[in-house]
């Protein structure tokens, strides 16, 4: 049979649509609105969906709906040979074949380029509420690995003769359960309460925002208007129980943070510390080091930079997507940021320790990765 490709469509029953990769999010919004559907993963309405996918793996609404790779179901993809192939499906569930979709999605143009995306849409409830929590609180330097490295069974050992391999260490005794004492006050407590209850599923996003030394927690709620009071009651309860102040804006536009200049991926429990490192004291040596080595990730804390690099002239701003474990940074003053010995650089020991614990040796990785890539690239380039 010949290659099947996706044709443009909007399926209002399934809540799916096939859109051009160069469609802006505003255009997608206009396409979906008549069907009372929305594509919630928006960072910048004027940017194309391809720009979004290249700049970030997550958007604020990934809190509720997952990353881009869970909301893009299929693609028409132009191979390096120039041929177009269909990758993925137009239905939300598939176990048909190897998952090229998620593999290719965030690879930029290393293996070709997207022509069209099949996206998953969600019901548009027609009402958005934005709550902002603020508080006075003191921050201390993160202590890094405290809660991760204590588990005795989580060591990484190297097996002689198999360079850089890791083996599961033997576990004795009980399985470790890691929890911290629940914070009682302040924004940390707000985030804890918003995430650690059944309400967590119903916030569109819970974001920790730092800018110019100020910080707040932003919660976006998208719900039928008649349910808004139920959400507001819960938001005010959280504020009351955490000694914080909350301002709730009804029938608001969901704010768009813009495409990030840099993205750091960590675990949800580390987002606040990491986000807090950015605005006051600059980015990081870690980031600088990674960029100079053209290696975009540090193990458990993943650092990525947008194709355009840091934008000059902007104010440094940081958005922590709390449940997603993602920090988006938009910044200026690149030199200060990259040379800063404080800020995220203070997080560096934690990054290093995580790296030691969680990964195989890079030498071996590059050896294997080169071999695997060679095979895949042969298939991708074949005419």
């Amino acid at each position: 049979m010949s290659e099947r490709l996706f044709e443009p469509f909007v399926d209002a029953i399934d809540g799916t649509a096939c859109v051009s990769a160069s469609a802006t999010l505003a255009e997608i919004e206009a396409l979906c609105a008549p069907h009372r559907l929305r594509f919630p993963l928006i960072l910048d309405a004027k940017a194309t969906l391809r720009d979004h996918v290249e700049a970030a793996t997550h958007a604020p609404a990934s809190h509720r709906f997952g990353p881009f790779c869970d909301n893009i179901l299929g693609m028409n993809w132009r191979l390096p040979s120039g041929k177009a192939v269909r990758i993925g499906e137009r239905v939300a569930k598939t176990t048909t074949g190897y998952d090229w979709l998620r593999f290719l999605l965030h690879t930029g143009n290393r293996f070709g380029e997207p022509l069209d995306y099949v996206i998953r849409l969600r019901p548009d409830c027609g009402f958005t509420m934005v709550a902002e929590f603020s508080a006075e609180e003191m921050w201390s330097r993160p202590s890094g690995r405290q809660d991760l490295a204590e588990a005795p069974d989580c060591r990484t050992s190297k097996s002689p003769g198999v360079m850089g391999s890791t083996r599961p260490a033997q576990l004795g005794g009980l399985k470790p359960v890691t929890t911290s004492p629940q914070p009682r006050d302040g924004l940390r407590a707000v985030v804890h309460q918003l995430l650690h209850s059944g309400w967590m599923h119903w916030w569109d996003s819970v974001d920790y925002i730092c800018r110019d030394g100020t910080k707040h927690v932003r919660v976006i709620v998208h719900t039928p208007r008649e349910e808004a009071p139920i959400f507001e009651t819960e938001l005010r309860r959280v504020a009351s129980s955490t000694s914080t102040h909350v301002e709730v804006k009804h029938d608001s536009e969901a704010p768009h943070d813009g495409l990030p200049d840099a993205t750091i991926k960590t675990t949800p429990d580390r987002v606040l510390e990491l986000a807090h490192c950015f605005p006051g004291e600059g980015y990081s040596r870690a980031l600088a080091r990674q960029r100079s080595e053209d290696s975009s990730r540090i193990d458990n804390v993943v650092i990525e930079s947008s194709p355009g690099g840091l934008k000059p002239g902007n104010t440094l701003r940081c958005v922590g997507l709390c449940y997603c474990g993602v920090v988006h940074a938009t910044g200026n003053d690149v030199e200060r940021v990259c040379n800063s010995s404080t800020g995220v650089a203070g997080f560096q020991p934690a990054i290093d320790e995580l790296e030691t614990r969680q990964t195989s040796l890079r030498v071996e990785n590059s050896f294997y990765e080169s071999a695997w890539l060679t095979t895949l690239e042969q298939a991708l380039h074949e005419r």
Partner: protein
């Protein structure tokens, strides 16, 4: 080979007697049996690594197997060889409540993980019905789904990292608690998830967790015809309450339940819809009446709902009983697993009935309607000449139509050896080349689980 196996597996077990091997000759697909040459049960991950390092020299296929509950002919020795049973790797290594992740070994049973997580107020959402026995290794190898995937998604949405052992014994971690790439340039775990044991052996995983919903309401409604239940499904899918599950049983399934000891008073000839909403009590309690009204408005005069746990379980009774009853009704049955755009639901169901009736093969539909994930069950007798061929003919007609309406071959069971022949319906020559490139990169001789996923994957020693 026995001596070689015994030198590789010194602390675990090596099984070779026909009686022992018979238990590994099939998976949940049942009627397709392939006797392995041997079964090994490594004592732990170290021994699994040692086995994989020596596996090449065995010169036979290697088939990784968890609990063997696959429904697609996945973890079976279709080309002979050694089955590696990973049941000993069953430790839950860490539960990180603050970070919403856990680290588990591949042989942990799904429901054991659920039980361990529950006291901490978190859960791992994928819920295939084989939960009491199926292993996370099998779940991740087949990208398992379940009844609550409509809202919560499938296994691939929750896998943060995979530790994989290649056939040279090298061990690699793709991702980890943060769910990134680790030190790799590319996100290799994406190929591992759903790879059906064809790329590597898995030892452990890092999985994403969610807070437990506070309260659940379950609804059961019956409808006199497919058009009305289809309308109810379409309305539920668009409802802002985002039901966690939308399940359907057709009149043949209802009749089967009502004719059994599991009868629960469903009207004869009706289509049954089961749906569930969950969340904070204040929120879900406010949504109950609107869901009930939606179900009535679509054409049901028989809507029952409850938030009481025993009553809810009774509402689920028909759905849960139906799967088990198949085995009582028929010597053999095949559960198909296609996914279609939901607008084609009635049409494709009719095709199933027409084809099955014409062939004289009973067909029962019990499936995840919210996802458009059909599970037609074809009941037959594999010892009756011609029956199996009839089922295969119906399956092929079904899959052809599924692809024509924009669907896909499998939603949660995987391809295994049951559906490998249908893959050219989905993939053209260029995309098939990409599919073949993945095992070519990780397992070029196809020694791991040959004849699965793609028919061309045959091991040549």
């Amino acid at each position: 080979m026995l001596r070689q196996l015994q030198s590789l597996i010194t602390r675990g077990r090596v099984l070779t007697s026909p009686a022992q091997l018979a238990g590994y000759s099939a998976d949940g697909l049942g009627y397709k049996r392939f006797m392995p040459d041997a079964v090994v049960i490594p004592a732990d991950a170290d021994e699994l690594v040692a086995f994989m390092r020596g596996a090449k020299s065995l010169g036979v296929p290697v088939i990784l197997r968890g609990a063997g509950t696959s429904l697609s002919g996945g973890p079976v020795a279709a080309q002979g060889g050694v089955v590696v049973h990973t049941s000993s790797l069953k430790r839950i290594r860490e539960i990180n409540v603050d970070g919403f992740w856990c680290e588990v070994e591949c042989g942990v049973a799904l429901n054991d993980l659920d039980a361990a997580l529950k006291p901490h107020g978190v859960f791992y959402p994928p819920d295939p019905s084989s939960g009491p026995v199926c292993t996370l290794g099998g779940n991740i190898a087949s990208n398992a789904g379940g009844a609550h995937c409509f809202r919560y998604g499938v296994t691939s949405n929750y896998v943060l990292g995979v530790e994989a052992v290649m056939l040279d014994g090298s061990v690699h971690r793709f991702g980890g608690p943060a769910g990134g790439h680790g030190p790799w340039r590319e996100d290799w775990k994406r190929f591992m998830i759903g790879s059906e044991g064809t790329l590597a052996a898995f030892t452990r995983f890092w999985l994403r967790l969610l807070p437990l919903p506070e309260k659940v309401w379950t609804f059961r409604a019956t409808y006199p015809d497919v058009r009305r239940i289809e309308a109810a499904i379409h309305a539920l899918v668009a409802h802002p309450a985002y039901p966690a599950a939308i399940e359907m049983i057709d009149p043949r399934g209802v009749a089967m339940v009502e004719g059994s000891q599991m009868a629960c008073g469903l009207p004869k000839g009706s289509f049954m819809l089961l749906t569930e909403i969950d969340g904070p009590a204040a929120l879900v309690d406010a949504r109950v009446q609107s869901i009930a009204k939606l179900l009535c408005d679509a054409g049901s005069d028989d809507v029952v709902f409850s938030d009481d746990e025993p009553t809810r379980m009774k509402l689920w009774k028909a759905r849960k009983a139906a799967g088990g009853l198949m085995g009582q009704l028929s010597a053999d049955f095949v559960v198909q697993d296609a996914v279609i755009p939901k607008r084609a639901l009635a049409e494709v169901l009719q095709l199933v009935y027409d084809e099955a009736d014409a062939a004289g093969i009973p067909a029962v539909n019990i499936f995840h309607a919210g996802d458009g994930n059909l599970h037609p069950n074809f009941l037959f007798n594999s010892r009756k000449p011609g029956d199996l061929e009839k089922v295969e003919h119906i399956s092929k007609a079904l899959m052809k139509r599924v692809i024509e309406v924009g669907g896909t071959l499998s939603g949660e069971h995987g391809i295994g050896n049951d559906k490998a022949a249908y893959m050219p319906l989905v993939f053209g020559p260029d995309s098939m080349r990409l599919q073949l490139a993945v095992p070519a990169a990780f397992n070029p001789a196809h020694q791991l689980n040959p004849l699965k996923v793609l028919e061309a994957r045959r091991f040549v020693a």
